[in-house]
Assembly symmetry: C2
Homo-oligomer: 343 residues x 2
């Protein structure tokens, strides 16, 4: 009988030999080997090739010896299966030239099979699972429905989510129609990732922390709950993550997730106290990777001390790695966490 990967056992709050560590956005622009591979190719093109997508996903695992490979994909990748053209613009983010604003726009949304539109990522999962050691995990990746809807409605990254909220409040039928369609797309997308070999799925609802608790519960939670239930149905655990979520943690846990992702704003022990019956992941400020080692180490130690060796802590950042991060700092941090508590 094979032992499950360390990350999966921690997600289930089993007592483990040490704290697992990986980093959100560990694959990507912080690595020179990634920047080299990307020359002349768009991100979506890279994801379309199982070999390239697997290579980019594996680069940080080789370099930093982390406990998980997070699939290299964009939050907007499954939207390509919905017939909505999306561009990823350097230094801007996802741009949708014909945003979804009205009930009529919903008619433009189609549904297709993830084994077709996500064949590259699914093929990459098979390769990555084969390449990893059995104790390392493949983390499947899915954008959260609020965050993806935000890009689809605003047409670009937004600070206030004014058009999103205007739709929620003034045209709730269109909002709910859009969220239902996203959910109908995301459930088969995550299930296909599990079928291909993903050991755990992370739902990245990066910007959901912009919402009040009432709005989150009315407009988002039911859809996140359906996606996370879809993950559970196929027998793997899930990680439910957002930023700025200090006031939403209980509601997010109620929607689902074996692991609740904490951002850097909430001290880890305070965040865990909000969701005591779950595992937690986090939560070092990503910008600390730009700091001198002594300060970075002190920050990492603070996170680990606040976890108190309780089963169920996955070490990570509070958000993704920033592109200008020195990869050697990441490697050193991963080693520090692996060795922490092993005397």
């Amino acid at each position: 009988m094979t032992v499950a990967p360390l990350l999966v056992r921690t997600a289930r709050r089993e007592q483990t030999e040490r704290t697992p560590v990986w980093f959100m956005r560990q694959a990507g622009r912080s690595l020179p080997e990634y920047r080299e591979l990307r020359v002349g190719r768009t991100l979506f093109e890279t994801c379309e090739s199982p070999e390239l997508c697997a290579e980019v996903t594996l680069q940080p695992v080789r370099r930093h010896d982390v406990d998980a490979a997070v699939m290299f994909a964009d939050i907007m990748s499954p939207v390509l299966g919905m017939g909505i053209p999306v561009k990823l613009v350097e230094n801007v983010g996802p741009v949708v030239d014909e945003p979804i604003r009205t009930a009529a726009d919903l008619a433009r949304i189609t549904q297709s099979d993830p084994t077709e539109y996500a064949a590259g990522i699914l093929g990459a999962i098979r390769i990555v699972r084969r390449e990893l050691r059995p104790d390392q995990a493949v983390v499947g990746f899915c954008g959260g429905p609020f965050t993806v809807a935000g890009y689809l409605i605003e047409g670009k990254p937004s600070r206030d989510f004014l058009l999103v909220k205007r739709m929620m409040y003034s045209d709730p039928a269109t909002w709910h129609g859009l969220m239902a369609r996203l959910t109908d797309c995301f459930v088969p997308y995550v299930q296909a990732q599990v079928a291909a070999g993903a050991d755990i799925i992370q739902l990245f609802d990066s910007w959901v922390g912009n919402l009040s608790v009432n709005d989150y519960e009315e407009f988002v939670a039911p859809y996140s709950a359906r996606i996370l239930a879809g993950v559970k149905e196929v027998g793997v655990p899930s990680i439910h993550f957002g930023t700025g979520t200090a006031t939403l943690l209980r509601s997010m846990a109620a929607a689902g997730g074996d692991v609740i992702g904490l951002d850097w704003r909430i001290p880890l022990d305070r965040g865990w106290a909000e969701v005591p019956d779950r595992a937690v992941q986090g939560n070092l400020d990503s910008t600390l990777l730009l700091a001198p080692w002594e300060r970075l180490e002190a920050g990492a130690r603070d996170v680990l001390e606040r976890a108190h060796g309780k089963p169920g802590h996955i070490f990570n950042l509070g958000h993704g790695i920033l592109p200008p991060t020195d990869p050697d700092q990441i490697t050193r941090l991963a080693a520090f966490v692996r060795e922490y508590g092993q005397s």
Copy 2:
């Protein structure tokens, strides 16, 4: 003996006849009379004229019959007294062409007398105080040191505050030097506003919620504490506000402020429980002003119910009024709050 303005008595947590109401950014682009007055004039030019600045400040008080006039100024206004050129760029925000990045840059910062560089705003305070009823308050306005430092270092609005944090972590002497100079500028600025007639001062540290609790306490709190102590010294109460501060409220209260501003992310009762010995201000989501009246009213009622009629609640939004807001909605909301609980 004159009775203090309703807002001031509420800030002191006295039992009052009703809940005071005003709105952050009530003066400005939501009002057609403001947009008309601004034709052909920059914001800084408008603030330089005591008459124009007073007029813009008074417009929303006349229109909405709110309990306070918040001085129309920019968060960067006092920076003009520090010899650092700042532009306010439409749809972008404050832009500093020669940002502060190194110890050498600190030498460019000068200190001048607020009665000179802020003569317009101070003159406007005298006019506004004379024009208001005695039960209405003049709210003086000062940017928070983190937020202002953020614009000075990044050179423009930022999502991650990467350069700011890099300076904090890697060159703390320059960071502390900048914060000390900002504080040296802001203390006389707020004290001059009080001398001119401001009844209360609000410190707007809009983006401070980006920081972890540890970083807030080490890098920001000591300076906010000095500014708020400077307000106390001249005998008026203060409001201490930021957004995304759910995890910082206790630390912000420890730094100072008779009133703690709550943003819309934290239910008002939960926020108040974090700072039980203070008054609180807030905290309706600004985007609800774009919603149909029934939803807006339900949101306002929820805020008021969570305040439970306890002395010390100032009704406000969780952040500023958004420019596309219909002013009639604002007027109606102000009336609803004024009449709430008066049967």
